[in-house]
Symmetry: C2
Subunit: 204 residues, 2 copies
DNA sequence: CGTCGGCTTGAGATAGTTCAAGAGCGGTGG
DNA sequence: CCACCGCTCTTGAACTATCTCAAGCCGACG
């Protein structure tokens, strides 16, 4: 029902502007999506986890680059085949719409983060977002949150620098909100406290 | 085929969290969409112009507040009626999907703006975005761009302060990129120059 | 066990914010 | 029709969160 594809860490599945002629489902590993400005500034628009779909688009060209974070395994189809399949399945059309609406709502939430939150609020929101995603997956649940991406990737997702990410993490450690089990794995010690930080602290 | 509604300047059509039980089309006037943080910080997520749809959502609750900029005239239907109509029209389902995908692409472009652009780049992008929208409408075309929203609204859309908006406009005036015909109407003197600013200047 | 690359921490620079006046426009009433 | 008033917009000056640049640190890997 499709072809299997294995990509190495850092390898791009496709670039912004490439012809969108394949659709993927991520079976193993994580992927980052980003857009670049002409001078190299980068905005990460999202991260994908096992089970996520990729490359479905109503446009001819991809609007962003997709790059493997670690080693990834994917399953892909030609887009033409996918489109033909969708046309025969009215329920699928609806499902695509629902998925796009969810992505749109998430993007609008991210607009608030990028437009109006402080560095600490951004990082707290990010940790909780990952924790929330993990809690829905059977296996990855619990107080621990994996960070499969680098500090730079987090920074480019949150619209800050990698140094500011480090400093905010250190701040949270000193406040006993989190603990770094390893460099890429956070233990949440105080989810409530983190939530308070994420939405602007307790002001009144 | 629906009811007419006239709202006065500053009046909200609905608030974030309200039950989404009506769909609208804006026949006259302009609307701003925004989300608030608990402490009052605001992120404007978009502006609507005559002909735009509003309130179509797969969710039960509105994800943002919609507020009239000036006096507005709208046409609305109960959502239940709209949903029933969509179900009978497979082409409509597809059109909704296409619309959501376009909004998503626009939101991702705005993520780049909010995450990585400087104040001047943000304002230049904004002016060009309005000019581009206007150029598609038969009547509003030309070098002139109307700003139906306040400086604060622009600021909250671009993730900066109203003072910074003013300063960037003054900068563009001094560089002969634009002229303010009136406070709320810009004449674009150098679209190319504005484009260069919008995407990070000419670096090489 | 040493090296390399990413992470953390520090110190100084800065873009943008905040706070504070003034200026200009539009609306109102004399 | 003009003068006044209120509000938004502009400009200025000081402040600050974040960035930039520069070491050291530390963990992963050979």
């Amino acid at each position: 029902m499709g072809w299997t594809l294995v990509v190495t860490p850092g390898q791009a599945l496709f670039h912004e502007g490439d012809r969108a002629d394949r659709v993927f489902t991520l079976t193993n590993g994580c992927v980052k999506l980003y857009k670049l400005l002409p001078d190299g500034r980068r905005q990460v628009t999202g991260f994908l986890f096992p089970g996520d779909f990729l490359g479905v688009s109503v446009f001819d060209e991809h609007a962003f680059t997709a790059e493997a974070l670690g080693e990834c395994q994917l399953c892909w189809f030609p887009r033409s085949r996918f489109d033909r399949y969708v046309e025969t399945q009215p329920a699928m059309e609806r499902e695509l719409y629902r998925a796009a609406a969810h992505e749109l709502a998430a993007a609008q939430q991210q607009l608030v983060l990028l437009g109006r939150k402080t560095a600490a609020e951004r990082l707290a929101s990010f940790v909780l977002e990952l924790a929330d995603k993990a809690s829905r997956s059977p296996e990855r649940a619990g107080r621990f949150v994996d960070l499969p991406m680098s500090r730079s990737d987090i920074a480019d997702y949150l619209g800050i620098t990698k140094e500011t990410v480090s400093r905010a993490l250190s701040l949270f450690k000193s406040q006993r909100l989190i603990r770094l089990e390893t460099l890429n794995r956070i233990e949440i010690l105080d989810a409530e406290g983190l939530k308070d930080v994420a939405d602007g602290g307790l002001e009144f």
